[in-house]
């Protein structure tokens, strides 16, 4: 187990709207070690993106609000920092990239210029040096012909290229942690693989931890060391990646893994999880997955804690009580 | 038409929580009540002249709360009756302009192509003519009457609505539910009436509400130029016009109707803004 870089404990983020209060993140806790790649997996509305925004303290308030818990980054609680101190952390120590790179890039500046600005800001370099560095960054993220591409505007680039630019910008300050929120979801299949490979190489090359947020377990299987599975605002399972796929402990995780398409195995019917993801404004009583779970029994009417299954594995399911799998 | 009851009730719930919008709505409601109840609220006649010269230009007093004008008529009475003119003219004129604008906008937006291009260039051409100039020309051609003023105010104000509705229809047309209706074999009439217009309705209503204020101002401006509602019918613009010569000696003759115009326009704008915030379809898609 590598040294702890990020430690989240009992994080609670709520959204108060006219429709009621949504407990989007409801007591989430996990750690990310130095240089480690952790996959944070879940379906829409499970709170994985809100967790990411909470770490960056970018939750829009109102309606969102971080109500409790702690986010320790190298021992400092990010929730206790002033906005000014937090800006420093955001720039220099933690970076984030989003699903849709087009909306994260400024359309009136060239991509190169935007990277150069980030480099100049964080590394305190002059104009010429920072431009050279920016071109180097473009080369690092495998943009062909970086000198020429330096002058391209975001709309002149394809989705894959734009995501590379975003990654280059995020890396320009040499962060210790990169949060990647669905970095490949909006991209074409053939380009997805390229971006995932790029992320894997970059994190290995510079000892940077990655928190990879995605709905796609297959992407996580590619590059994560450990996986945290979220459902309806809570962590339901945490495990090293190999064990998770070999023997998922939580029925939800098992359902997700089963519903992945496996090439060359044509099935009459796809394995499926019945029902729908619960409404965050109206979470079910007891175990939140119980109304969709085939293995439910009487105990599921009360909410299970996260049981420790040893070997770095945790699962929030009564079936795992007493460490049994 | 079935459908939409949720939509209205959710919007209404938002609207009720907006104090400015509620204030606007209450003011307008009060204005309409006053207009209807005018004969009950005042003992005087709005048109007939006072008998004695000393009745003219009386300052506000117990008998005449807002004073009298140059013919000795009670200013408050004329304002109460004047609200009937302002409210009716603006309501009818806005109805005319919204119906015209929606038809033109919907036809142009739905048909597209050359029809759209020709219609929208016509709208652009009409918009480039100063409105007051258009109004003055028409009034000079025909004899002045209440009906003419109403129709003219309506017929010269629909272009903005047409553009707005066309934009809405264009964006709705590319939505998949419209493709689905087309694939089901729905005809153009059904698609426009069932799928396009209902989804553009809130935008149309909001724009109509905001436009009423402009039309009241337009009527006042025409009256102030002496080209609006013919005297002795009381209209607020007319009253401001009549009082302008004696503004320093008998300030009440112009000031109170002027205030009435301001209050009404502000109330309609508050209502319109409130409606937009509460019913803007963007929040639902």
């Amino acid at each position: 187990m590598p040294e702890e870089l990020l430690k989240i404990e009992d994080l609670r983020t709520v959204f108060r709207t006219e429709a009621g209060t949504a407990r989007a993140v409801d007591g989430v806790g996990f750690t990310v070690g130095r240089g480690e790649t952790v996959g944070l997996v879940g379906e829409s509305g499970c709170g994985k993106s809100v967790t990411a925004l909470s770490i960056m303290r970018l939750v829009t308030d109102p309606p969102g609000r971080i109500e409790g818990g702690s986010i320790l980054f190298e021992g400092r609680d990010l929730l206790g920092l002033s906005e000014k101190e937090m800006r420093k952390v955001r720039g220099n120590e933690i970076s984030i990239i989003f699903q849709e790179p087009l909306s994260s890039l400024n359309p009136v500046f060239t991509c190169g210029e935007q990277i150069r600005e980030a480099v100049a800001l964080h590394q305190k370099l002059g104009r010429r040096a920072s431009k050279k560095k920016a071109i180097e960054m473009l080369r690092l993220v495998r943009i062909p012909d970086p000198e020429k591409r330096y002058g391209s505007y975001p709309h002149q680039m394809s989705g894959g290229m734009r995501q590379r630019v975003m990654i280059a910008m995020a890396l320009s300050c040499q962060p210790k942690l990169l949060i990647a929120d669905e970095p490949s979801t909006a991209l074409d299949v053939s380009v997805q693989a390229q971006i995932i490979e790029l992320l894997a190489e970059l994190s290995a090359g510079r000892d940077m931890a990655v928190l990879l947020i995605t709905h796609d377990l297959a992407v996580v299987a590619q590059i994560a060391n450990r996986v945290v599975v979220m459902y309806a605002g809570a962590v339901v399972e945490e495990s090293p990646v190999v064990e998770l796929f070999d023997s998922p402990a939580h029925p939800y995780t098992k359902g997700l893994i089963d519903s992945l398409p496996r090439l060359g195995q044509r099935l009459e019917r796809l394995p499926m999880i019945p029902g729908n993801v619960p409404d965050p404004f109206d979470l079910p009583e007891g175990c939140r997955f119980s109304d969709r779970c085939r293995a439910r029994f009487e105990k599921c009417a009360t909410e299970p804690p996260l049981f420790d299954l040893s070997g770095g594995r945790l699962a929030r399911c009564w079936l795992c009580e007493g460490g049994g799998g | 038409m079935s459908g939409g009851s949720f939509f209205w009730s959710a919007g209404w719930a938002r609207f009720r929580k907006n104090p400015r919008a509620m204030a606007g709505a209450a003011t307008i409601l009060a204005l309409y009540l006053v207009a209807i109840l005018a004969p009950v609220l005042t003992p005087y006649d709005p048109v007939s002249h006072g008998d004695l010269p000393e009745m003219r230009h009386q300052p506000p007093s117990r008998e005449h709360l807002l004073g009298t004008d140059k013919f000795g008529r009670d200013v408050m009475t004329r304002m109460l009756y004047g609200s009937r003119i302002s409210l009716t003219v603006s309501f009818l004129a806005v109805t005319i302009s919204v119906v015209l604008g929606s038809i033109v906008g919907a036809v142009a937006g739905y048909t597209g192509g050359i029809v759209d291009a020709v219609m929208m260039r016509m709208v652009d051409a009409l918009m480039s003519i100063p409105r007051l100039f258009l109004l003055l020309t028409c009034i000079a051609l025909f004899s002045r009457s209440l009906l003419l003023v109403t129709i003219l105010l309506g017929a010269t104000g629909w272009m903005g609505t047409a553009r707005l509705v066309r934009g809405q229809i264009l964006s709705l047309k590319s939505r998949e539910f419209v493709s689905a209706a087309e694939a089901l074999g729905a005809g153009s009439g059904r698609i426009v009436l069932r799928h396009l217009i209902p989804n553009a309705l809130t935008v149309i209503i909001v724009s109509a509400t905001l436009r009423i204020g402009l039309i009241i101002l337009g009527e006042a401006a025409l009256s102030f130029l002496g080209l609006g509602v013919p005297p002795p019918t009381p209209s607020w613009g007319q009253m401001v016009y009549e009082g302008r010569e004696v503004l320093l000696d008998a300030w009440w003759v112009s000031t109170f109707p002027g205030l009435a115009i301001v209050v009404t326009v502000v109330a309609y704008n508050l209502l319109g803004d409130g409606l937009r915030d509460s019913f803007d379809p963007v929040q639902f898609t």
């Binding site: 994560a224 398409p261 044509r266 099935l267 | 939409g4 939509f7 379809p281 639902f284 898609t285």
Partner: protein, 320 residues
């Protein structure tokens, strides 16, 4: 037996600024596609963004008019139909859309949405309409209470079921499903796919299943066609196409699907991005990204031809 046959379908759009700048520029969204649907079977149509698969789907329903080509549905020339004739014939082919949010009119209840087609084609009257709608709700696995609810009250998967019921209401022969599950949660995708499979065996429907990744279509398709920049580059029986892809693009797509085995890293099989459809490379459109391209590929466009029985590909590697 063929129930739909399209030959040489083309759809060109004039690109913006094309009137004055650099003469005329066209986006060749669909550039000469032949497609055949066999009764009761499923054809999977796969391709990445901008390959023209959605445009092709809309052409088959005549939601767009083709620039060229022929389209026959159930023996009638679909492109020759006009006005009322066309509206009546539209019953035969229906579509399920990608976006469960934009595909339902927010002002209509699920009941009115499903009833619309029944009313248009007068398939039932009076209380019969309501009975039929309830029957359809049942069929797609929605509760009766859904009848009077509005789209915003449903989850994505449930909305997609409403869209399916709307399409079924007019008793179509063919259903074109344009990425019907790509906007849904992973756990819900399988539900919708299984529902579509059940409906097919119950009602003898013919499907065209459009998707951007091969993983989904494998389970549902009898045959698969792969599209790249407006053309079909490979077509064949699903099982064979997966076990032995002929076109390098198909091969690359297959390799790009991440497997669920930890540590089993995808090898990047296709480099670069999909070129813009305004500026399609000369010769074989794929040669700029193809690991096996040779000189000939950049000069002449390969045509789709039958390489072995039932298997077609447009690649110079497979021309003797």
């Amino acid at each position: 037996m063929s129930i739909l046959a399209a030959k040489g379908l083309k759809k060109y759009y004039r690109s913006q600024g094309g009137y004055f700048l650099r003469g005329r520029q066209f986006v060749r969204a669909v550039d000469g596609v032949d497609i055949e649907l066999k009764k009761g079977m499923t054809l999977g149509l796969v391709g990445e963004s901008g390959c023209g698969k959605s445009t092709l789907a809309r052409l088959l329903l005549r939601l767009e008019e083709p620039t060229a080509g022929t389209l026959e549905i159930d023996g009638t020339d679909f492109l020759a139909l006009r006005g009322g004739e066309l509206r009546r014939a539209r019953r035969k082919i229906q579509m399920i859309f990608q976006d469960p949010y934009s595909s339902l009119n927010p002002r209509l209840t699920a009941g009115s949405t499903i009833a619309e087609g029944i009313k248009i084609h007068k398939l039932a009257r009076g209380a019969g309409v309501e009975r039929r709608v309830v029957e359809l709700l049942d069929k797609v696995g929605l509760p009766r209470a859904a009848y009077s609810r509005y789209p915003h009250e449903f989850s994505g998967g449930q909305r997609q079921r409403i869209g399916i019921a709307r399409a079924l209401a007019v008793e179509p022969d063919i259903i074109v499903a344009d990425e019907p599950v790509s906007a849904l949660d992973v756990s819900v995708q399988a539900q919708v796919i299984n529902l579509l499979a059940d409906l097919q065996s119950d009602l003898g429907l013919t499907y065209l299943f459009v998707a951007h990744d091969l993983g989904i279509v494998e389970h549902v398709s009898d045959r698969i066609s792969v599209m790249y920049l407006g053309r079909i580059v490979e077509s064949g029986p699903a099982v064979e196409l997966f076990s032995l892809p002929l076109h390098p693009y198909t091969e690359g797509l297959l390799a790009s699907i991440p497997s669920a085995k930890p540590g089993d890293r995808v090898r990047v099989a296709i480099s670069g991005d999909v070129p813009s459809p305004v500026d399609i490379p000369a010769g074989c459109a794929f040669h700029t990204r193809c690991p096996k391209a040779f000189d000939h590929c950049s000069t002449e466009t390969p045509q789709l031809r039958e390489v072995s029985p039932g298997r077609y590909t447009a690649c110079w590697l497979h021309v003797d």
